[in-house]
């Protein structure tokens, strides 16, 4: 299936960074780890993510700042390539004209909002696409949470 994006993204280069197969996708119900850090669960639900995908969305509030919260979406796909497709679709649902690549060690492919705008990080690990987004008026540490989640996904896989 061709992957299309209206952004100037080298999709083939991103594809080459994906694993050829995802041996151990994370189990259903794998948590984000936010609960272990004392963050307050604001809710969680399954969300629509497209055919063949199962997606959950959780929201967490900082224990220190009530106006600092995070939304975390985990989209379990059939393959790493489909997880990349889910990521590219998510980029197209972000108004920013330019979304730079994220840290090279984050996931197999990642993108992150630049400094100065509400934080959001998108990455693919195996056949899972993850979006971590600041969901309150105070900027939440989306990248730090993305790294924690990536570590958990990596340890499961």
């Amino acid at each position: 299936m061709p992957l299309e994006t209206r952004r100037p993204i080298d999709v083939e280069a991103l594809r080459r960074r994906l694993p050829t197969r995802d041996a151990s996708p994370p189990p259903e119900g794998a948590r984000t780890g936010a609960e272990a850090e004392g963050w307050l669960a604001l809710g969680g639900r399954e969300i629509a993510a497209g055919a063949g995908r199962r997606a959950t969305r959780e929201e967490w509030r900082s224990p220190e700042h009530p106006d600092e919260s995070l939304a975390i979406e985990l989209v379990r796909c059939d393959s790493p390539e489909d997880a990349l497709a889910a990521l590219l679709e998510r980029l197209d649902q972000d108004e920013l004209a330019e979304i730079p690549p994220g840290p090279s060690e984050l996931g197999h492919v990642s993108f992150a909002h630049p400094e100065g705008v509400p934080p959001a990080v998108y990455f693919v690990r195996g056949s899972v696409f993850v979006a971590v987004m600041s969901a309150g008026p105070r900027a939440a540490p989306a990248l730090a949470w993305a790294r924690r989640i990536d570590a958990r996904l990596g340890s499961v896989g």
């Binding site: 509030r61 009530p66 106006d67 920013l96 004209a97 909002h113 509400p118 008026p137």
Partner: protein, 382 residues
């Protein structure tokens, strides 16, 4: 004698002579008649003003009547009270009551008198009653309460034998997409009363679709606990309206983007009978605009973004000559874009246009193509 049940949506296939088919929210099941049943929690009903014909009916079943006899039965507004205060105070009370009735009072009118036959056990059949003097076609958007005093004819007088209380939503026309009026099944796209609660507050008293769409746009833009993020927070494949309503009710600050605002405007306005679509346009650097939750007197609340896309609500269809609504921002209509003077204007039924001073496109886009994506959307709600 007593009322046992009242059916408002007694013909789920039609909205021309009875109520709409509705549900509470995405969960559960549709509300089915009888909406009012003795001993049970009353269920609300909803009417679409423009869809109604000359006659609106309800159905009711009574019991405890005279065995094998027929009596005349009617219901009148139980809350209309004769004036019993004199002077200025009485006049003021009457004025306040009239004002309250206008926005929150009875729109169903009365139930016209008709003979009702009772069987040997004193029970009636499911009888059809015509509403007399309803204000359903004229009262405008709102959630109202009707309390009926049910009366039977006794000699030359009417005697009250029962009181029933009803919550009534009034919208301007049959809700448009994503909302449906499927007559059977458990369709989550049936109008939700949870959404009607919010939409009716947003557009209380609106009597035209333009008024309703404008009021909803203003309300979506004016929520005080929200702020802007470029990220779509309430869904793109569908619209997580449940989550948005929970945020509005939660009293906790939240963020949203243009797609979320376009979803809210389109979905809530169309619930009231408007005819909006969502649609995007691409690649632009904006002029300074007043961001969500911003104070027009604070310079830093006037912001400019480089956007890959922006999504707004369109009236009827997408095109350069069409009208748009944008609940996500307020444009700067001050003509000098080099100074620090800003004049906020919410885009309400504004022509998208191109380079004219009255055009939305001119007021929003400083540079870039602003190319239209001719994909009208009405995202299904969840």
């Amino acid at each position: 004698m007593q009322v046992d049940e009242i059916h408002f949506n007694h013909d789920p296939a039609s909205a021309s002579g009875d109520a709409l088919t509705i549900r509470r929210n995405a969960g559960g099941s549709p509300i089915v008649a009888p909406e009012w049943r003795r001993g049970a929690m009353p269920q609300p009903c909803a009417y679409a003003a423009a869809a109604l014909g000359a006659t609106v009916t309800i159905r009711a079943r009574l019991s405890g009547g005279p065995r094998n006899r027929t009596v005349r039965v009617r219901a009148i507004d139980a809350r209309i009270r004769p004036r019993h205060e004199g002077g200025v105070l009485g006049w003021l009370l009457d004025l306040l009551c009239a004002f309250a009735r206008l926005f929150f009072g009875n729109v169903l009118g009365d139930v016209a008198a008709r003979p009702v036959a009772f069987d040997a056990s004193g029970r009636s059949g499911l009888e059809t009653f015509v509403l007399a003097h309803p204000r359903l076609r004229t009262a405008g958007v709102g959630r109202r309460t009707t309390e009926w005093a049910w009366q039977r004819r006794a000699g030359c007088a009417w005697k009250t034998f029962d009181l029933t209380l009803h919550e009534v939503y009034l919208v301007l026309d049959v809700p448009r997409g994503p909302w449906t009026q499927t007559a059977s099944g458990n369709d989550p796209q049936l109008p939700w009363t949870d959404a009607l609660d919010r939409a009716c507050v947003f557009a209380l008293g609106a009597r035209t679709r333009d008024e309703a769409a404008a009021a909803v746009t203003r309300a979506v833009n004016g929520q005080i606990l929200q702020s802007y993020t470029p990220v779509t927070m309430f869904g793109f494949l569908d619209y997580r309206l449940s989550d948005y309503l929970a945020k509005l009710a939660g009293g906790v600050p939240f963020v949203l983007n243009c797609t979320d605002c376009a979803d809210a405007v389109t979905t809530l306005a169309n619930l009231l009978g408007c005819d909006l679509f969502e649609g995007r346009f691409f690649n632009m650097v904006t002029r300074k605009f007043l961001t969500l939750g911003g104070d027009p007197t604070v310079g830093s609340d006037w912001v400019s973004w480089s956007w890959g896309y922006h999504e707004i609500a369109w009236l009827s269809q997408i095109g350069p000559n069409e009208r748009v609504y944008d609940g996500c921002l307020q444009l700067d209509v001050d003509d000098d874009y080099t100074d620090a003077v800003h004049t906020p204007k919410l885009a309400v039924r504004m022509p998208f246009g191109s380079s004219g001073p009255g055009d939305y496109r001119y007021r929003l886009i400083e540079s870039g193509t602003g190319q239209l994506e001719n994909v009208p959307r009405r995202r299904s709600v969840s």
